[in-house]
Point group: none
Chain length 197, copies 4
DNA sequence: TATGAATGAGATTTCATTCAT
DNA sequence: AATGAATGAAATCTCATTCAT
């Protein structure tokens, strides 16, 4: 089975790339570093992934796919719209600090990152909109069942995700002491979306 | 007046760099682009600013200084703690979309950016903490005058700034339609910090 | 035979570098000059040798290795300690003016050169001590068989090699007329080490 | 007296240059380093010394002049030719390790150095020949008074100076333990030039 | 599929020298 | 004499990508 071998190498490359793009960022990550960490030949990179940008995107999408699955799973069993939104947020933040998810590469590759927009990024942008969609569904559920204050769900989802993005960056990128940040962030969301008395 | 001429070139360099780092990001901005836009010789860059990293930092700090002044001004005249916090947030968001502030370079240089942390960044980190301090003062005022719910001000400030960071990135970096985002973000904050009935 | 081709280019690079470092010195020898003379791409230099310093060292060590072999060969068949020392000196001086040995690059790279000491130079320093060792062995032989005056061999070897170094520099670096220098240098050594009557 | 001031600055420049060329070598020494160590403006360097090469030469010649004076002084009072030669060698070696003579700059600038020969170096070459002349005179004296073996003085002087050059380089450039080297070098010379019994 | 030598454009940085003041 | 801003050529080194094997 020659395929087994090649698949392994292709995967090793992707894993090394996910780690390095996360640790070093796009510019500082080189083909040499990736192939060395993966323990495979340099030339396999372009052979399997075309070019650097596409590999970067493949890394981001790989993490985004797991992320999406996790969020769907987390919100599926919620009893109310409010619970669903809170589960969404909890799962978002938990995923972002779960070692082994290679979260950082997504931070650097997502539409919220500093990277210049390129054509290849369209896929990423669209896939990230599906994350928004999950939250919008939760909000709609909450508006319907009265557990959430009445607002425009699309914009509210955008605000909540903005908060997730910001809290996450504070936690994983800045040097500031943020041990209670995630906890407090959830309280903040809960207060903001709670129906007015 | 020998200074008049040199100061002009040094300033032109800084201005061109602020624009380009904001537009293109750190990696895509080259010495050539900067010196050409500034209309000065290539070597003047290292002559005045040492190296690319230091110039980048000088750009960020320059914007951060104006930003800080704007926030202090905005919060100074507030009638209540609640008003102060809301003024802080309004001023933050307004500054971020004010053309002519070169906000983008700060986005890319701030502690919330994707850049690797280097020794030079310590100055930036410390200066950004002063922004936190401004908001913490507002929150303390609000807790004292009863216009804000009782919480730990340091962490709450961190949450609010996380939301500012995230909302701003959504607006200026992502391709998503976000015309009502800022407005809704302010409402979100107001609801979250309002004292419980 | 993939090696055949690559080895050729790597060797061509080393040969061109040996010539140019010898002719022009370290500072005046550029990547451009080397790659042009070798007829290979500029980037191959760092690909194969890491950086300029390491290439320089590789050049020096390459010459030093031949030099060492030549000295061992020359001293092996000596009848007495005195003859061994004289053979050492003769071989030293002869090697230094043998066209095709690329001696000059060693002059510029050896521990007796003007170059700043760097970490990479340790290898060179140690390898050059082996040259001292060869001469020390000859001296010990001569002290044992009575053909050489009794002295501390380590220091005497150092004096003799100092004279080789100086005579060689006079011959290959200075503009002074030195056609009889080597001849006279050997006589000088012979008189100095001869046992006192 | 405006001259006093300028003379001081010119001298400060020369002193700083002598130190730095000695410590760092020609290539690593920059105008910026020199002017900073001297505490004067960058532009004064070319103003006073024309260009880098000329300044280097000025440094070397300045040291060479003191050196020459010292050798003349040392050999003047010798009782015999043999004593004169030995005094020459002693003075040579002593000068080379006397702190405050800035000897190293001469090592790097002399005709025995690794530097490429340029037109400006002719002065240095000629002046260094006068050093040879001093020793030749001593040798002639010794041959005349019978304290030195009969040889061709010009070549013998060249051999002795070669030994001085080599011993000095061993002592001040190499990492090898050379505490007894100078002592033994003098003995070596004495044995080599002594008249045959 | 797999390898890694080979390429060369391009980036940052250095620096002697010039020159206006 | 003195200053240091200004210049731009040149150097080293990086690195994505190509390609022969």
């Amino acid at each position: 089975m020659p395929n087994t071998h090649s698949t392994t190498k292709k995967k090793a490359l992707l894993q090394a790339a996910k780690e390095l793009f996360g640790e070093c960022g796009y510019a500082e990550t080189t083909f040499k570093k990736i192939s060395e960490r993966a323990g495979v030949a340099l030339g396999l990179l372009t052979h399997h992934y075309g070019n650097k940008e596409k590999l970067f995107l493949a890394c981001g999408l790989d993490v985004l796919t797991s992320f999406q699955a996790r969020l769907i799973e987390a919100t599926a069993q919620a009893q109310s719209g409010f619970d669903a939104v809170m589960s969404f947020c909890e799962a978002y933040l938990a995923f972002s600090i779960d070692p082994g998810t290679n979260w950082l590469v997504l931070v650097r590759c997502s539409p919220y990152s500093d990277m210049k927009t390129s054509d290849d990024r369209a896929v990423m942008n669209e896939k990230f909109e599906e994350i928004h969609r999950i939250l919008i569904d939760c909000l709609n559920q909450g508006i319907a069942d009265g557990t959430i204050a009445k607002t425009e769900p699309r914009t509210t989802a955008m605000v909540i995700i903005s908060l997730m993005v910001g809290a996450n960056r504070t936690r994983v990128l800045t040097p500031y002491e943020s041990s209670k940040l995630y906890e407090e962030t959830l309280i903040f969301v809960a207060r903001a979306i709670a129906p007015t008395a």
